[in-house]
Amino acid sequence: MSGIDVAAADGPVTGTGGRRVRSVGLLIGVAIVGGYLLAALLAPWISPHGPLELDVADALAVPSAEHPLGTDDLGRDALSRLLHAARVDLALGVAAGVTAYLLGTLVGLVSGYAGGWLDLVLTRVMDVVQTMPVIVMIMILLLVLGRGPVGIVVALALASWVGYARLARGIVLAVRNLDHIAAARLAGLGHPRVLLRHVLPNVWTQGFVFLTSDIVLSVGAIAALGYLGIGIEASTPEWGQMISSGQAFLATNWWLSLAPGLAIVVLGLGLALVSDALTDRLGSR
C-alpha cells in the first residue's frame, strides 16, 4: 500500500465536465433501449427468415450474406431467432419487473406508513422471501404454477418484489419524520393528503429508477431459466436457451453462444446508463 497516498486523494473536483458526461450517457442509454424495443416490435418484419424455419441441410453454417449469424444445429437462422427472442425476453422481463414494482411499492408504502403490527408482519414476510435465492424461489413457485409464460412472469414477480418494498418502506419511514411533514400535519392536513402530495412523489420516482436497473436482472433470470431448460418451451426462441444449445458447438460455432449473451449485456448497459442518469437528476433535489 506504499504507493497509495491517502492525502493525494484531494484531486480536482469533476465540476462541469461530469455533467456533460451524464447527458451523453443518458442519450446513449436511451438510444440502446429504444433500439431494442424497436427490434423487438419489428422482428417479424426485419428478420431475414422465420425463426422456426428448418433447413437441416444447412445446419451449423458459418456466417454469410444469407445467414449473417449462421445457423444453429437444426438449420434455423440465428439472427432471426435472436430478434424474435428479444420479443420473448423483453416482454416477459418487463412484465415481471413492472408487476414486482407495483406490488412491492404498494406493500412497502402500506407497511411504512401504517406501522405497528402490520409493518411487523409485512417485514417478516419480506425477510422470508428474501432469504431464498431468486432462482430457487422461482423454481418452487413454478412447481405450483407451471411453466407457461404467465407462470413465469408471476413466479419472477413474486420472487423479486421485496427489493421495491424495502425501498418504498425506507423512504416512507425517512420522510415521515421530516420536519416539513410534521409541519404539514400540524397545519391540519389530513393523512391521505400528506401521503399523496408529500410522501408518494418521492417513493414512486425512486422505485422507477430501481425498476430501470432491475429489468436487466429480470431478463437475466428468464434467460437463466431458458439456459437451464426449465423456462419457456424449447422451440420458442429465447436468448438463454440459445446459449445453452450453442454450448455443445463452442469449438466450431462459438458465435452461436456469444451473440445472445452480448444482446443481454448491451441491453444491460443501456438500462444502466439510463438508470444512472435518472438517479443523478432526481438526486439533485
Partner: protein, 666 residues
C-alpha cells in the same frame, strides 16, 4: 524578539466549483507571537474555517492555495504532504467544533489520544498511556482510567470536547487552531471548556488561533482579533481597542447586533441585507451594499488595510502590541454614525431616537408592577403595560383568559436499556408536571440546557407527541387526544432547522395557498393577495412566491416558516430555537420580526431558546426549565437581576459576556 509562532502573508484560497470559482480567503495576513492568542471572527461564508484548514495544510478539495505561511520560520505552502503530515500534531494541531463527529466512533478514546505521540514521536504504548491519563487529569476529567477505555458515544459532550483538546495537545504543538470549540456545547459547559483551553495552552506554551462567530468568546481568550467578511480581513488589532472603538462598519454592526446579557435592554440592531453572493461579490469594498456609511468611491476601492493609531498610550509604547488597521475609508477616525442610530435601519438622515442607544432604564419602566407575587406565575395575569427603553408604552397584554395553558403536563419515554439482562428499562420523564400559561400578545421565553425537555414539551403542546399526563388548554378549552384540523390550527410550531421545515419540492406560494384553501381561510380570488400579504408581513416581497426553499437563505427560510404559521391565524406560535441555526446578524432581524408581529397582530409567542441574552431581549416573562421541571417563572428583568432558583443563577453566571470596558460602543 523571537520569531512569531505563525507568520501569514497574502494567504489566498481559491475554490473551483461547478458554479464558478470563488475566493474563500483573500490576501489574509497576520502574525501570531509565541504563546499568544488571536481571534478570527466572522459569520458563515466569511472564510475563517478555510483559513484554518489552509494553515493545517488541509485545504478543501479542489482549491488552490497561494501566499506564504511560516510556521516557526518554516514555509508550509508547497511542502509535499508527507512532510506536512510530520508537522501536524507536533507543530500545529486543531480542535474541531463538534466532538461527536470528529472522534472515531468505533475506537476507544484512549487510543485516539495516544495515537499522535506514538506515531509522530515514536513513544511506547505504556508511555503514551501515562501521558494520556496525565492530559485527561489536566482537563479535569474525573476517573481518567475509565474514560481512556470508553468509546466516544459513552461520554457526554463536555467530556468529549475535553478529549478532543487533549488529543490536540498530546504532542505539545507550537500552534493550536480552534474551530468554534464551544458552539456545540451548553452554556455552562462552554464556560468550563474556555477556561480549560486557556490554562492548557498556557501550560504547553501553544499559541492559539481561535475561530468563532461569538465575539464574547474571542474577547475572553484572545489578545488580538481579526474580523473577516467575505474572505477578507476587514479589521484587526488588540481586542480591547477593536471592541471599544471599531473602525470598520461591519465590526461595529456585529457588536451592535449582539443582544446584551447585562446592562441596558436595547433592541439588537440587525445588519441590513443578506450575506454576499460568494461567486459574484460586490466590486471594491465587499461590505458596501450593506453599509450605511458607503459612498460612491467605495465601489472602486482596492482592498487595503489602513493603519489606525492606537488610542491608549500604553499601547502606543508597547512595540509588541498588534498593529491596528481597518479596510475602510472612514478608518482613521472613530465612526460617527453607524447602523442603529435610527430605529429604522438604513434610513440615513433620521435623527437618533432618544432612548434607543444606551439609555439608563427608567425606574419601574420595564413592566414592574407593585403587585405582590409578580415573580411567580399567577394564572390569569392582570393587565400588563409594557414600556420599552425608549419610554414608549405599548399595548396591553394578558387581559383575561390565557391563550395557552398547560396543566400538569408530563411526558414519559422508555429509557435506554441498562444492559443488565431482565432489568426493566427505566422510564424517563422528559417533562415532569409542568404548569405554564401564555397570555394574549405575550412573548414568554422558555430557557434551559439541551436535554431539559423544552423541545419535547413544545411537541406535546402542539400535538406531535401524546403527553402521558396533563392537559393543554387553548382559550380555556382543553385539547382532545386526537385533534381535528381546525383544532390543530390553533397552535403552530416553527422549527429550528429552517431548511428541513419546508417541503423542498414545493414552491413557497403553492405551499401557502394549499394551507389557505384546505382551511377555507380565503376564497379562490383572495388566495394570491393573501399570500402576498403574508409574505409582506414577514418582510419578504411577492417575488418569493415562485421560489423553491433551497434558493433562500436561512433567515429567509425562517421568515417563510413564520408566514406559514401566521397563515393559519393561530392563537399562539411556539418558536423552538428558531434563530439558533442562523448567523448573529440575521438573528437580530428575525427577532425584531417576532416583536413586530406581536405588536401588530397581537399574536402570543412561546419562545424557546438556550440563549439567555436573546430571551432577555425580546421576552416579557421567562420560564426556566431543568430536567423536565419548571424551576422558576418571572418577569424577565426580575429573573435576570434577582434570580431566585440556583439553576437560574448557574445559567446566568455561565453566559460569556464582554467585560464592562468592552460593551456596546456609544
Amino acid at each position: 524578539m523571537t520569531a512569531p509562532a505563525l507568520r501569514v502573508r497574502g494567504l489566498t484560497v481559491t475554490l473551483d466549483t461547478a458554479q464558478g470559482s470563488l475566493r474563500a480567503a483573500d490576501r489574509v495576513a497576520f502574525d501570531l507571537p509565541a504563546g499568544q492568542a488571536v481571534g478570527l471572527v466572522g459569520e458563515s461564508g466569511s472564510g475563517k474555517t478555510t483559513v484554518l484548514r489552509a494553515l493545517l495544510g488541509l485545504p478543501p478539495r479542489g482549491s488552490t492555495v497561494a501566499g506564504s505561511v511560516r510556521l516557526g520560520g518554516r514555509e508550509l505552502l508547497g511542502l509535499p504532504d508527507r512532510e506536512l503530515a510530520s508537522l501536524r500534531g507536533t507543530q500545529v494541531a486543531m480542535i474541531f467544533q463538534d466532538p461527536a463527529t470528529t472522534l472515531n466512533p468505533i475506537r476507544r478514546v484512549g487510543s485516539q489520544i495516544g495515537e499522535g505521540p506514538r506515531v509522530r514521536l515514536g513513544w511506547s504504548r505504556a508511555r503514551a498511556r501515562d501521558h494520556t491519563i496525565g492530559l485527561l487529569r489536566l482537563m479535569e476529567v474525573a476517573d481518567p482510567e475509565r474514560v481512556v477505555r470508553s468509546y466516544p458515544h459513552q461520554l457526554s459532550g463536555g467530556i468529549r470536547q475535553r478529549v478532543m483538546i487533549a488529543t490536540a495537545l498530546a504532542c505539545r504543538p507550537a500552534v493550536l487552531l480552534c474551530d468554534e470549540p464551544t458552539s456545540a456545547l451548553d452554556v455552562t459547559t462552554q464556560e468550563q471548556i474556555l477556561a480549560l483551553l486557556r490554562t492548557a495552552a498556557g501550560l504547553t506554551g501553544s499559541a492559539l488561533v481561535l475561530v468563532s462567530h461569538d465575539l464574547a468568546v474571542v474577547g475572553r481568550l484572545c489578545s488580538s482579533v481579526l474580523v473577516m467578511y467575505a474572505g477578507r480581513i476587514v479589521e484587526r488589532g488588540p481586542v480591547d481597542e477593536v471592541f471599544a472603538d471599531p473602525r470598520h462598519p461591519y465590526t461595529r454592526a456585529l457588536l451592535r447586533s449582539r443582544p446584551a446579557a447585562t446592562g441596558e435592554r436595547t433592541r439588537p440592531v440587525p445588519v441590513p441585507g443578506e450575506p454576499p453572493d460568494r461567486f459574484r461579490p460586490p466590486s471594491g469594498c465587499r461590505f458596501r451594499t450593506r453599509c450605511v456609511l458607503a459612498e460612491k468611491r467605495c465601489a472602486s476601492l482596492p482592498y487595503h488595510l489602513t493603519p489606525v493609531a492606537p488610542r491608549l498610550t500604553a499601547a502606543r509604547l508597547d512595540a509588541t502590541a498588534p498593529l491596528r488597521a481597518a479596510a475602510c475609508i472612514h478608518a482613521t477616525a472613530p465612526l460617527l454614525r453607524a447602523i442603529g442610530d435610527t430605529p429604522h435601519p438604513g434610513s440615513i438622515g433620521d435623527t437618533p431616537h432618544p432612548g434607543s442607544i444606551g439609555d439608563t432604564p427608567h425606574p419601574g419602566s420595564i413592566g414592574d408592577t407593585p403587585h405582590p407575587g409578580t415573580t411567580g406565575d399567577t394564572p390569569h395575569a392582570e393587565a400588563v403595560r409594557r414600556t420599552d427603553a425608549g419610554g414608549r408604552v405599548s399595548r396591553l397584554a394578558g387581559a383575561g383568559t390565557p391563550v395557552l395553558e398547560v396543566r400538569g403536563l408530563g411526558m414519559e419515554f422508555p429509557g435506554t436499556p441498562t444492559g443488565r439482562p431482565f432489568a426493566r428499562r427505566p422510564r424517563l420523564r422528559a417533562v415532569d408536571g409542568v404548569d405554564l400559561h401564555l397570555d394574549r400578545a405575550e412573548i414568554l421565553g422558555l430557557v434551559g440546557e439541551s436535554g431539559c425537555g423544552k423541545s419535547t414539551m413544545a411537541r406535546c403542546i402542539v400535538g406531535l407527541h401524546q403527553p402521558t399526563d396533563g392537559q393543554v388548554l387553548v382559550d380555556g378549552r382543553p385539547m382532545p387526544r386526537h385533534r381535528t384540523a381546525s383544532e390543530r390550527r390553533r397552535l403552530q410550531l416553527v422549527f429550528q432547522d429552517p431548511a428541513a421545515a419546508l417541503n423542498p419540492a414545493r414552491r413557497i406560494g403553492g405551499m401557502l395557498a394549499e394551507l389557505l384553501r384546505v382551511h377555507g381561510l380565503a376564497t379562490r380570488r383572495e388566495v394570491r393577495p393573501r399570500c402576498v400579504e403574508l409574505l409582506r408581513s414577514v418582510g419578504l416581497d411577492a417575488s418569493f412566491l415562485g421560489a423553491y426553499p433551497h434558493a433562500l437563505s436561512g433567515g429567509q427560510q425562517q421568515r417563510v416558516s413564520l408566514a406559514r404559521a401566521l397563515a393559519l391565524e393561530p392563537a399562539a406560535i411556539i418558536a423552538d430555537e428558531i434563530v439558533s441555526a442562523l448567523d448573529v446578524s440575521v438573528q437580530a432581524s428575525v427577532l425584531n420580526l417576532l416583536v413586530d408581529l406581536r405588536e401588530r397582530l397581537d399574536v402570543a409567542i412561546l419562545f424557546i431558546s438556550h440563549d439567555l441574552a436573546v430571551v432577555r431581549q425580546i421576552c416579557d416573562r421567562v420560564a426556566v426549565m431543568h430536567r423536565g421541571r419548571i424551576v422558576e417563572v418571572a418577569r424577565v428583568d426580575a429573573a435576570f437581576s434577582r434570580p431566585r432558583h440556583p439553576h437560574t443563577r448557574r445559567l446566568l453566571a455561565a453566559i460569556p459576556t464582554l467585560p464592562p470596558a468592552r460593551r456596546t460602543p456609544a
